[in-house]
Every structure is written in C-alpha cells, then in structure tokens.
Symmetry: D3
Subunit: 207 residues, 6 copies
C-alpha cells in the first residue's frame, strides 16, 4: 500500500525528469550544452566510473609529460555536469607547455613530487609558485598557464576542470603545428623567421 | 506595401530565431539543456496549456497525499524555460515525506487548508512554519524539505519550480525502496538494522 | 563523540558555503545577480514565508484588476533562486493589459473563475485560450501577453516567474504614461495623433 | 619526436572536446541551447564568416528601413556563442518601429548618418538620444525600443546582440498583423476600435 | 616604442576588465554569484594556492573520517570560478555518511586505499562500486551519496566540485542534529520514535 | 482613475524589480557577475550611450593599431548585460597581435579597408580569411586570434563581445612584458634564449 503510493508518487515525477544527469550518448548529435542523453534505462554505474587514471601515462617523450583525461568521451556521466578531471604525469624534467583551456577553470592538486606552476592574467601579471605534495593551485578560465616538474623525482597531479569539455590550446602547437603561414605568425607574434621555421620544423607545421 | 515590408522585415528575423520558445519534442533526443524543439509550424496553443491540474489527485493511500506534475512531459511548452508547476493534494493527515529537488528551487502557495512546511539548510538549521490559505513559502534548491497537512480539512497547494525538470528524491524511497544493501544503509545513516529492514519491507527494498 | 565529529565535519563545510541561499539584504548594494546576502545568523523562517498574497488585491479601479507580487522585496528568501510568484485578482470585466516580463517566463494557474489568456510569438503567431479553474498556461520570456476575466464572477490566479525579478513592462504605460514625445510614438507605432493624445491624457503622459 | 608527443597530448584532449565551438547543423534537431553541432571535420572558415552585410538592404518600402541579420542561419559559427549581429539601413525618413528582442540585449553603433534611438524601462522611464556617427547605445534585454533616421541622409548602423537568436517582436505587427481578435486588442491596449481596424487593414490582420 | 603601444593597448582593455578572476574579499558583502572581489592590486599568488590539503585530517572520531575543504574561505581565488576541491581521509572503518551537495556535482579520485562509493538517482536507482587507487567516480548535483573505506588500510581521496560553494547536507545531522521536532521527523520519514530519539541523543538534537 | 490604477499596478511591480538593467556603480564593490548597480533614480540616458568610439584611435605606434573599448568602465549600462563593443583602427601595415579574450566570444565587422583575420581551434586547426568591407567573422571564446590590415589603406572595424568584460591577453605581452623568468618561458614555449631575451628587451620584461 505504502509501496504503491510511493511508486505512483515517484512515477509521476520521474516520468517528467530524466535530467538529474544526462549521460552522454556519444553516437548521437551534440549541441552547445553537450552530448545528447542516453536513455535512462541504458545507464549503468560504469557510466559514472573510470579506471583509466590509475596508471601513469607514458612520459617517454620530449616533454617528459603525459596528460590522461576523464572527459565526456571517457566518463559519459560527466556530460552536462560542469566538471571533469585529468591525470598529469611529469617525469624528471617534464613540462606541460604554456597552454589555455578556453572553456573552463582548473584546480591542480599535487599528489607526488614537486611542480612549479603558474599563470598570467589579462593584466599581464604573473602568478607562479613551486607546489609540493598536497598543495593545490587554481588557474582561472582561458588564461595562459604551465606546469613544470620542479623536483628530482617523478611528479603526479590531478587537474579538475569546471567543464566536461574545457578544451586545450597548447601555444606551441597552435602556432607551429599546423598550416598557419610563417609570415602571419611573425607579424602577429614578433618572433624571428628563423625561430618560427625552427619550431615549425620540430612540430610539423607547414606554410 | 507597409504589409510587405513588415513581412520581409519580420521574415528575415524570424527565419533565424526559433528560440523564444523550444516546445519539447518528446520523441526526439534529449540533451543537458532539455528536449529537442518541435518544429515551429507544429506548435499549438495546447503545447502551452495543461488542464490536468484541475482535478484533485487520488489521496486514498498511506501518505494521504498526491502530487500531480506539469513538467515538460505534460506541458511541452515549459521545455527550456526554467519553470514548471505541480499540484499538491493532502487529505486530512496527509504528508509529503522528506525529499529534495536536486535540480530546482520551489515556491509553495497554499490554496486551501493549512500546511506545516519546512526545510533544513546546509548549516543544519531548521526553517518551518504552519502556512494558511494564501501563504507562500520558498524552498531553496537541493535542500531536504517536507509538507504536512496541519489542519482538519483537505489541503490544496501549488508548487512552482525554477526548472522544467526539478527532479524529486524522496528520502525513504531512496534509502529503502531499491536494492541498496542494508549494511551500507546502516553504515551511512546510523539507523538500526531492524529499522532498516522494517522500512525495506514496507517500501519494497531488497538486499 | 559522534556529535563532536559531526560538528567538526559540518563546521568545516558550512564555514565555506553560505550559498545554499542568499537572503536579500535590501539595504545593501545590488548587483547583476541580485541583492547582497544577509548574514546567515540573521536569517529567519520569515525570510522564506510571505502572507501578503492571502487577501484579494483592490480591484476597484478602471482595469478592475490587481496584481500583488512576492518578489525579493517582499520575500527576501527568493533572491538568487530563479523563482518568484504573484497573485492576480480580476473582478468581472477585469483585464491585465498587454505586457511583457523582460526578465522571466511565467506560468499562470487559475484558482477561481475563468480567464482568457494569450501571448504573441516573435513570429507573430497568437496563442490564446479561455482557461478555467485548475488550468495552467505558460508565457515564454519577453513576449507580449495578456489576461482577461472571461467569466461572470471574480477570478483569481497565481503567476509564477522564472526569476526573482522578472520585470513588468505594460504596453500602454510604456507608450503613453511618460514623457516619450507624441511624434516619436506616432512614427514608431503608426498610431494616429488623436489616439496617442487621448491615451496620453488618460495615462498622464506628457510631451 | 616532439611532434609525436604533441600529437598524442593534443589528441587525448581534443578527442574529448568538440566544444570550443558548436557550428550549427541547420538540418539537425534544435534544443533549448541552440542547434546541434556539425561534425568538426565538416567545419570550414566560411562557417565563421559572412559577407551578406556588405550591401545595403532594400529600403524602398513604407518604413524606409531594412534589417539584415547575421544569426545562426546565416553564420552557423555563432551557434551557442552568445553573440550575433545585424545590419540596419535607414533611408531618409526611415524608422525601425517600436519592438523588443525577447532573448537578448543589443548594442547599436552608428556608422553613417544620424539616428534617434531610445528604450523604455520596466519603470516606464524613457531613455533616448540622437546618435551621430561613431556613437553607440545599449538596449537592455526585452525592453521596448526604436530607431529613427534623425538626419537628412541615409543612415547605417550595426546592431550586436547577446544571443545568436535574440528574437524580434515588432509591436505593430504583433498587435495588428495576425488573427488576434479586435476586441481582445482593444480590451488589452485601450486603443479605439477604429484605430485597431485601420491598422489591421494596413498590416493584414484578421479577426 | 613597441613597449609603449603595448602598454597603452593593454591598459585600455585591462582598465575595463577586472574579471578574468574575482578573488574573494571575505570581509565584503556576498551576493548570489559569490563574494565581492578584492581589488586587483591586492591579489597575490597565495590567493590561488592552498597548502592545507597536504596533511591528513584528524580521523580519531566515531566516523573515522575527515573532510578538509578548499573553498572560497580557504582559497579566495576560486570565488566565481565554478570549481573547488576537498581532501577526504578515511581511517580503517571510516565512512562519509549519506549526504548531498545542494549546489554542485562532484568527482572523487581515489589516491590511496579502496573506497566503496555510490549515489541514488531521482528515479531511486542505486549506482555504487568499490573504487581502487586511481579510480574516479562522478556524483551528479543534489543526489544522496556516500563513501566508505572498503579496505584494510587508510584511504585518501580528493573530491572536486562544480562550484566554489557546493554546500553539504549530511542526512543524519539534518534530521537528528537540530531542533526539528521528533513528531515531524517521524511523520516525514516513517522512522520509529525510538530510533529517532536514539539518534537525537547521539547527535545532540532537541525537540 | 485609470492613471491611478496603473500607477499602483506598476508601482507594486517596479518596487520589486530594479533588474531589467544594472548600471555599473564603478565606485562600489564588484562581484563575479559584475559591478554593483547604481540606484535607479541616478541612472540617465548617458549611462547607455558612449561617444568615445567616434574618433580614430592613435595608430602612430609600432603595431600601427589602436583598440578603443566600450566596456563597463566606459558605458556603465552594459554591466550585467552580456555584451560590449570596441573600435579597431589599423593603419597600413597595422596588426592586432595574437591574443585571446578569456571571457567572451567576438564578432568583427569590417567598416573600411581590408583585414586578414583568423583563429586557431583547440584541435589546432587554423581558420583565417581576408575580410573586406561589410564582412563579419566570429572568434569563439578563449581561442588565439589575430587581425592584420590586408590592404593599402587605413582599416576600421568594430568588435562586439559576448561579455561586458571579455578580457584581453596579448600573447607577446603575457610572455615577454612582465617578470616571468626567461628559463620558465623557454621551458614552456621551446623558444630560444636569444629570442626570448630580444623580445623581453623590446617589451620591457624582466627576469
């Protein structure tokens, strides 16, 4: 009896509200607010859980760094919720080059090692500090920032974002890793032609 | 002539803006911001009107209460507009058990009878009062709240929400009406095993 | 012991979050998001409750209508919550003239009597219907709409808004109740000079 | 080598974030937040560029005015970005009649000639001024406003909006250009029957 | 020379935009969108950095758990940015009791040990899983959820939130740790009187 | 009589809604949503109008460009409205160097001359085009973009933004115009030491 009323009570409401979450249907159309929602009956616990951040990323590369994201594509449950996370591994000498997230703010928490992190404001003031284990730092949306392993051991951190799709624009790659013509780069950055061509060579840019 | 210019004038604009409303197409994919929109030419007055709140809900049940919603599923015109409404009938002795709306704030207006209503803040302060005909009370988003018929006659109220899909999480049903294991409930609520099992029995919970 | 931990636990959090509500301090500066918040310790149940909608407004006037609002000024608890409400009384022959709410959508629920209500879309399509007791109608944000007592008895309705400050722009008063020069009105509305001056006379407009 | 790491680095992120823009797929379903997004690989520069505002609109009509919009339908790249633009041409004697944009605020910048522009607030206060070349004026969301050629030469202006779909409700067309019954118009605007019928005649209204 | 132009260029802009961040002035009035901003010249790197999550919280208490927040009060730089973080320590047998965050979604990342975590949806479906080191889980806004140390060692996790002030409503404390009258609790939760009084005794509730 | 009712009617509402605009009080505290509002009675037409974009900015400088903003500081009426505008003058050979607006999207409309404009996406794809008089281009929020005079005459454009405080981060100035240490710049951008020091010299950077 009580049961039945609760079922009715709850049914009336739940039939009208699939939106305490909107688990991404990665195969359906995406809109400005995110992916379309999976049908509620297809949603499982695994849509909200991700184990891919448990292992260190591969830092055997020139920047000696690896970023492993847990965004909508990896954790469909974050779609529409205004939050996501990524794992950051920095080998000794590792660096996350100057970059922005056009669509979200970030909080970094250092789990292991020491990381020198900083950002530059619209007013061109620099805010940077050497962070040790347990320290956090916040990077406001859209501003240039960086992280450098500041110690003599592997460093590990997690970066949370205020969006399920914060975006990532790495400065060097944006400038030198595509077909943006060298003369435009030089006119708009005041970099020397030799410098531009050198980095285009390294990063695969053409034009 | 004037006519023709107006038609042109208006056509240019209206061809680019179907969004002073987005009437829900309940059969199309849903996203984080709500349902897809019906084509404008298919929209009628009845998409914005609902007569289902005119009759009292059935309160012949253990909680002696009935909630009748007018959300996107019932009034497709509210989709995307940040508002919805529901009718609340409370027989003598009726109660809307402790619950939250995860996705919206609520204003209750008492139309008939007397209702004791209250909510509890994040700071664990209790705000409650006996409301009479014509009184309103606001319940901030996501906080536990309740309504009890405080009089000796049938009570009627309307609850407006700041979302077309405010959600409803009824505490007892969330704890005791599903397969959440008893030991987890007991560890996370400090309720006694007997109490948990008794309510699981009533509400159909398993595990 | 358990008590003490909970106090600590909760203290840590609550010390950092006064924002499950922001009760308006009507004497402090207002910003784009609403009024400043009262200090939590000054907040009482009465900030969330309002009894001023219990009595009929005075409809002894030319439009035979009265609107009684419950916005931030009357119910400081709605500040920042995205919702508010107003009472609408319509005597026989009463009318709420053509108007818009620039800052919010509206749901009307008819409590007593019969009301002819409608709105006009950006595409200039008219949506109107005679509503009876218990019927609801939604009016999307910013669109011209109206309500007319459609019956032979007093009518009563409640209007909920998707904002604590939806605004109200009554067409006649905007055109004829201020110092907007008659020639500008005529050029921008195509109304005749006699018509404009007649209504300016009635509504107190100058210029 | 550096290249490869950057590619990996960037790939991980970009695979999860198609949302630094959401170019409208005009053929797909639309939701409350805008149109569905084109697949990133189908997006081209031309989705962000529009040449249709380069030529004057045709002002050979009774209001001697033309508005040419660049909204999602013309510039799919604005979808979801909270901005759009339109060109306004006013011949000598031209006028943009009293209107509102239910879904966005506007900034007008005068490029050529002189324009008398104004708006009326919810508090029925009138704000208007004669603007000359280079002047700007802002019109808050949802409020009645107008623009009149105030000079003896053709005038040109651009109007930017805080939404890719601001909407446009022209007062005269909303009242007199559809099937809203004359008696309802008269009851809700206090206009005389003759005036209503005259303008219905001009603007093609029925009923 | 280049310098001077840049200074001018940048000055014009920066004089108009203090809002790529709004570091909380904890002594100034708070509004619905957060705290007032410190003057830009008073902002330092330490407004964006916090070291208080580096040490384990004190878990010598009945729930064997400690939550250490980094919200606006601790890290003024998060104000207005839509993100915050907290540290969670769980001794063996530790538990974060059933609770909600009315104002934000959460992502938990397990740094050490094993944690059984779960939430319950509006549709009363339970989503829970035993998480090991490196696993993440997302908890949508406003829904009941919990975390339990599932292993035989101390557990450590970080919880990120989609708001600088997510709020925290612990179920037991909301029900039994204040002056909410026992009869109201019993009517709205169906708990037995003895159970209610027992937990009121433990948690310091009165009435 | 009619007058009196309208006054009452309107008074009730307007007393509760000062928010169809929130003209910036530049001397009062600012919050995450913008400046505090001027008292309504102090607001004048001039708060919504600005004449400072009527004259060309001074382009007698190395980049041969001038940007003149109309943000909250210049036009207090845009505060809280989600829109602003700026004038862009480019002498022959002029360039707006690579930059981002962390807090808003932009639409550029070319009024005179020819401008080569472009942006780079998170996916490192370049979108650029030579724009002629009357052409518009949209630049999504937070992405690197630039404008170059592409012709042999002075160029003039207006840039509208989806925020009253879009921010401006000029790449060269952010990297080379402050005290960010050269070794950090080099590690995070892969630029050569000589290049960094050369540009630091030009732009006044230290460290």
């Amino acid at each position: 009896m009580l049961l039945s009323i609760f079922f009715i009570f709850s049914f009336l409401f739940s039939s009208s509200n699939a939106l305490d979450f909107c688990v991404a249907d990665l195969s359906a159309p995406q809109g400005p607010a995110g992916y379309s929602c999976k049908k509620p009956e297809a949603v499982t616990t695994d849509d909200f859980v991700f184990s891919g951040l448990g292992a260190a990323g591969n830092t055997s590369n020139l920047i000696k760094a690896a970023v492993t994201p847990a965004f909508s594509a990896q954790v469909p449950g974050v779609n529409g919720l205004g939050i996501s996370i990524a794992r950051l591994d920095l080998a000794v000498g590792g660096v996350v080059p100057m970059h922005t997230h056009p669509g979200g703010s970030e909080i970094l928490v250092v789990i292991q090692g020491s990381i020198c992190a900083g950002f530059i404001s619209s007013a061109n003031k620099v805010y940077f500090k050497s962070l040790k284990k347990g320290d956090i730092m916040v990077f406001p949306q859209g501003l240039l920032h960086f992280q450098i392993n500041a110690g003599k051991t592997q460093a590990l951190a997690f970066a949370s974002f205020s969006s399920p799709s914060p975006g990532l624009q790495i400065l060097d790659f944006a400038l030198f890793g595509n077909n943006l013509p060298s003369d435009i780069i030089e006119e708009t950055t005041f970099l020397d032609d030799a410098q531009v061509k050198k980095l285009k060579g390294v990063l695969g840019g053409t034009g």
